[in-house]
């Protein structure tokens, strides 16, 4: 096992991003799609922190804080929409919500 470099963190972050993307693109359950979006945002944060550490600069950590803020807002609104959707359509499956489909 060699020393851990920034490249390791970037590779891990890329893997997490791809897993999250697979979740967003393939799952039907909206709750799990939202969870996959959280995974993607965490991948971004790992990248930011890795480069912040490598540059010896806290700017990356500030950006990570803003990303976390966005993630919180997105989760709150998304889950609110999900509850409204379930009340009106009795479903949580993404491809059964097709009112706008021609």
């Amino acid at each position: 096992m060699g020393p851990v470099t920034t490249t390791h963190y970037v590779a891990l972050s890329a893997a997490l991003l791809l897993i999250g993307t697979i979740g967003v693109l393939t799952r039907r359950n909206i709750v799990i799609v939202l969870m996959s979006i959280e995974l993607i945002l965490n991948a971004v944060n790992i990248n930011l922190i890795a480069f912040s550490h490598s540059f010896g600069d806290v700017n990356g950590q500030i950006f990570a804080i803003f990303v976390i803020t966005d993630a919180v807002a997105e989760a709150a609104v998304g889950l609110g929409i999900l509850i409204a959707l379930f009340r009106n359509k009795e479903t949580v499956l993404a491809d059964e919500v097709d009112l706008l489909k021609w």
């Binding site: 470099t5 944060n45 989760a75």
Partner: protein, 172 residues
């Protein structure tokens, strides 16, 4: 050596949790796996000397967002959805596209890995700021240089609060 050991441990937590999150049928199992994954990410923050973000990650993600997710999973009846098909009909197209992007990212990370290593900055200002704690450094930056984005973020959170209440309310 110890660093590498912890890195691989947390990386295994992150990736294992992520894979279970994406593949489990039961949404509660997915949420628990996501918690494991997020704790792994928090461990990586600690390894990178981002102590403040470590605390934020635990308190906000594991304590806040995941409790919200679990509440919604309990509120919304998911039993029906768990019995049905879990993946889209176009799942193989998605997998092919993600594999293509993965190959691309792997190629560029491999090619550009040499430029990731930055020679350490001269010890003057860095040593001075390193004397202050991580939280103190972040606070100084956040409330001086990043004050306007900080205020915009607070407005964003207000909008999100109002929006989610409007969405979840029965009649406005």
């Amino acid at each position: 050596m110890m660093d590498a050991l912890f890195f691989y441990f947390f990386a295994a937590l992150v990736l294992g949790g992520a894979i279970f999150t994406v593949t489990r049928r039961n949404a509660v199992h997915s949420a628990i796996s996501l918690i494991v994954s997020l704790i792994g990410v928090a461990g990586l923050y600690l390894l990178q000397q981002a102590e403040f973000l470590f605390a934020v990650q635990i308190v906000l993600y594991v304590g806040g967002i995941m409790v919200l997710f679990l509440f919604v999973i309990m509120l919304v009846n998911l039993d029906q959805a768990a019995k049905q098909r879990q993946f889209n009909r176009q799942w193989w197209i998605a997998l092919v596209c993600v594999a293509a992007v993965g190959v691309e990212i792997a190629y560029f990370v491999r090619k550009g890995a040499g430029s990731f290593h930055v020679p350490q900055a001269p010890p003057g200002p860095v040593a001075a700021t390193a004397a202050a704690g991580n939280t103190e450094q972040i606070a100084t930056m956040l409330f001086s240089q990043y004050l306007l984005p900080f205020e915009i973020a607070s407005v964003l959170l207000l909008v999100a609060v109002v929006g989610s209440v409007v969405m979840a309310k029965k009649r406005i």
